[in-house]
């Protein structure tokens, strides 16, 4: 079996969510099939500048073929087109222009997919929102499997992606919430799909004391792992945690791991350690009392899964449906919607060790049941086997003509998003569990 993994960026040093996801999947599927990665020469997701040479290079035993990006992103143009398609009535052509402005625009990559799609049994396209997935999936019609990594943002409301969701051979969802959202926006229930997610290279043993000694950390602490950014809810986390620090009964400190794009408050109980390697990261999680995930938009929080993998509870932002749903399904974490709930849940996890321990154990079991690598690999292989036995779906509808592309009849994407169902998809999860039983 020969599999193509098509992703916008790829590399050992690239730690973006979807990119890391693609690398893990490629490397694990490489044990069962011939895998080739098709990607661009860009490493920066803002500019899409060509920084790596075009051509083929092996990374961790997987051949990676890179293609040049035609043009970098112009932030001004991109912002203008985003404003148009997200907030105003617009046309199909406006959305295509937005996609082109977003990047990474690599016609060479799409041409290669179109010419060589027949060489692969299946092409896995990561991240529905980018140029390569939209045009590549159309080019590899009949072999395209989409890993959307969709978040609950306005992009999901763009009309150009609805045919994409309906035309691919299968969709590998990250979470039940993501599946519910895509089903609601594109009505692609007929397309084979499965909630897979992703595993993580969790070490067999961790050394929390080593981490404490290395970074001179004493006392109990909560850990945040990820980019320290406003978009990740870190500003809100700082506000809430500073409110917590006013409580003399609270003993927790906050340890931040990751590169910071935001000013970290100066407080003796807020420590920023910067970017750490995986060993330190897992040791930190093992040493922590809990992991805090303040992000509003997540399609799947790998960090939360990793915390559960080491038996630590998670305190998640309840306004992120995916995180909230994961906490409820796993019974491995609590969530908050406001500062009062943040303080209450943090206090509960800090003071009730039995509760924290139970949540951690549940989370670990949840990880083993659903996100351990053998489980993930099996789900992919089962899907490949299923699709091999099924007749290919009809090709995607052709793109609209000149007049139709200019008809200003599409609603703002934000308005579409607002109409989508919200909340964790617990009911569907339970129903699926009953069906499996």
């Amino acid at each position: 079996m020969k599999i193509a993994v098509v992703v916008q960026r790829y590399g050992s040093a690239i730690n973006g969510g979807a990119e890391l996801h693609a690398r893990y999947i490629a490397e694990h599927l490489a044990r069962h099939a011939d895998v080739e990665v098709l990607t661009t020469c860009a490493t920066d997701y803002v500019t899409w500048r060509n920084e790596l040479p075009a051509g083929v290079e092996p990374i961790n035993g997987v051949p990676v073929r890179r293609f040049r990006v035609k043009h970098e992103r112009d932030p001004r143009v991109f912002a203008k087109r985003s404003e148009k398609v997200f907030k105003q009535r617009h046309s199909f052509g406006d959305e295509l222009d937005w996609l082109n402005a977003e990047g990474p625009t690599s016609p060479a990559l799409v041409d290669y997919v179109a010419r060589h799609a027949g060489d692969f049994d299946f092409c896995l396209f990561f991240s529905y929102r980018y140029y390569h997935a939209f045009y590549g999936a159309r080019a590899a019609a009949g072999r395209a499997i989409l890993v959307p990594t969709a978040e609950r943002d306005a992009t999901i409301g763009l009309s150009i992606f609805q045919p994409l969701f309906r035309s691919v051979r299968a969709v590998m969802y990250n979470s039940s919430e993501e599946r519910a959202m895509i089903n609601a926006v594109s009505h692609n229930e007929a397309v084979p799909g499965v909630v897979v997610g992703i595993g993580s290279p969790v070490p067999t043993s961790t050394q929390p004391n080593r981490f404490r000694q290395k970074h001179h950390i004493r006392g109990p602490f909560a850990v945040y792992v990820g980019r320290i950014d406003q978009n990740k809810g870190c500003a809100e986390l700082f506000d809430y945690f500073q409110a917590y620090l006013k409580d003399p009964a609270g003993k927790l400190s906050l340890v931040l791991i990751g590169n910071s794009l935001l000013d970290v408050p100066k407080h003796p109980r807020i420590r920023h350690l910067g970017f750490l390697d995986d060993a330190d990261k897992f040791d930190a999680m093992a040493a922590a009392e809990l992991l805090i995930m303040p992000s509003y938009y997540e399609s799947l929080s790998m960090v939360a899964l990793e915390a559960w993998a080491v038996g630590r509870p998670v305190l998640a932002n309840g306004r992120c449906d995916v995180l909230k749903g994961q906490c409820i399904r796993s019974n491995g974490g609590l969530y908050y919607d406001n500062v009062s709930e943040f303080l209450g849940t943090l206090e509960a996890l800090e003071q009730n060790r039995w509760l924290a321990g139970s949540l951690g154990r549940n989370g670990r079991q949840f990880f083993r049941d659903h996100y351990d690598w053998p489980v993930i690999e099996r789900k992919y292989l089962d899907m490949f086997a299923r699709l091999s036995n099924e007749a290919p779906r009809p090709a995607a509808d052709p793109l609209p003509g000149w007049f139709d592309r200019r008809r200003q009849d599409l609603p703002p994407a934000e308005a579409v998003l607002a109409q989508l169902p919200t909340g964790p998809a617990v009911a569907s999860y339970e129903a699926a569990g009953r069906r499996r039983a």
């Binding site: 006013k246 709930e341 949540l359």
Partner: protein, 404 residues
């Protein structure tokens, strides 16, 4: 938050979250901690204490609003013929001429009506805008004044709080001072007092009740004697030896009336009571004398407190007869004065007369009168007693030693 009904094998996150939310609701409704209340109060107070922080935006807006000149909104008049008017006569004539033809193509009347209505609306809106601007200015003034007053009130409240704290602390200090004084002025039993309780039962208490009566009688008798027989009293008065008076230092002078008067003072009550009480023997007198000395030997309060000058008045006279019996020690602070006064004037002999002087000096605590042996008449001393009590002269161990 520690009271969760969770079991390890059946943790339900939704139930736990419901419990936490219930707890938060309860806490919000009822259970504000002292710290939370303080924080809320502090935040409010801080805002009020910083008037610039309160009204910075308001002031800016207010100024900006005032700086803006009301914009003159252009308006137009639109009548039936406005559309076809022209400053050139021929053009206007031509337009009127072609008007029927024009009306063949479209009907200009709705357009004319709409523009006419719009012109009226513009006028009305302009008037409204003017009125609103005036009202806005008033609102801004009102809010500005309100904020000022609120700020002032906040500061007043803070000042009053501080003053209340100051008064409370002062009151507390005074209370503590009073308690400290009470605890310092304590009775120190002297060796002579040890044998006293037994005698108190027998003699002192019974005597004391009689003393007041005797004192009254004695004063009456004395005044009568002074008025009727000054000469005889002079004769009865036994002046001390001149060399003793001359050689006596102030303290010695102060001691002399006691030594002179105390001896005859003790038998006086008995003699004053006439046949009611038998006369005391010399042993009784000396015992009584010793008892008095012992009673006064405890020292004054000033001496106990280490007041300046207390050490210079070691004698009972200088320390004052009123102050010698300490309050709480014998229950009645002025009993001794009365006692001695009562016991002094009972006898018609010379020693009792001297004793009367001595006791008066003792009661008035004026050492100057202790030197009165030089003065032949004791009458002034007796007469000045009430005044001296009401306004004690400055002297060591006088007013200072009085715990009252």
């Amino acid at each position: 938050m520690a009271d969760f009904s969770v079991r390890s094998d059946s943790v339900n996150v939704e139930q736990i979250m419901e419990q936490i939310r219930t707890r938060i609701r309860e806490k919000r409704g009822v259970d504000y901690t002292e710290q939370q209340i303080r924080e809320l109060a502090a935040v409010k107070l801080e805002k009020f204490l910083d008037p610039r922080g309160v009204r910075s935006d308001l002031l800016t807006q207010f100024k900006a609003q005032r700086a803006q000149e009301p914009v003159e909104v252009p308006n137009f008049a639109f009548e039936d013929a406005t559309l076809f008017e022209s400053h050139r006569g021929p053009v206007q004539w031509l337009r009127k001429l072609l008007l029927p033809i024009l009306k063949l193509f479209f009907n200009p009347n709705p357009l004319i009506q709409a523009l006419h209505i719009q012109s009226k609306l513009n006028t009305i809106n302009g008037e409204r805008e003017t009125a609103r601007r005036q009202l806005d200015a008033l609102y801004y003034e009102l809010i500005h004044n309100l904020v000022l007053e609120t700020t002032r009130l906040g500061i007043d409240v803070q000042n009053l709080k501080m003053r209340l704290e100051s008064v409370s602390s002062r009151l507390e200090f005074n209370e503590r001072r009073a308690r400290a004084l009470e605890s310092v002025v304590v009775y120190k039993p002297s060796p002579g007092d040890e044998e006293r309780p037994a005698r108190q039962d027998r003699g002192d208490r019974t005597d004391r009740g009689e003393r007041s009566e005797r004192g009254e009688r004695d004063r009456g008798d004395r005044s009568a004697r002074h008025q009727s027989h000054p000469q005889s009293q002079q004769r009865q008065y036994a002046p001390p030896p001149p060399q003793a008076a001359a050689a006596s230092t102030p303290s010695a002078v102060a001691a002399s009336p006691e030594t002179a008067g105390a001896a005859p003072a003790t038998p006086n009550p008995q003699t004053a009571s006439g046949g009611a009480t038998p006369a005391e023997g010399p042993g009784q007198r000396s015992r009584r004398r010793r008892r008095r000395r012992g009673r006064r030997g405890g020292g004054s309060a000033a001496a106990l407190m280490g007041a300046p000058g207390a050490a210079t008045a070691p004698t009972p006279e200088s320390s004052g007869g009123e102050s010698a019996p300490l309050p709480g020690e014998e229950g009645e602070p002025f009993d001794d004065a009365d006692d001695e006064a009562g016991g002094d004037g009972q006898s018609g002999e010379a020693p009792p007369a001297v004793g009367a002087m001595a006791t008066h000096h003792d009661a008035s605590a004026e050492p100057a009168h202790s030197t009165a042996p030089a003065t032949p008449s004791p009458a002034p001393a007796g007469d000045t007693l009430p005044e001296q009590r009401s306004a004690p002269p400055p002297g060591p161990g006088n007013g200072d030693t009085d715990p009252q």
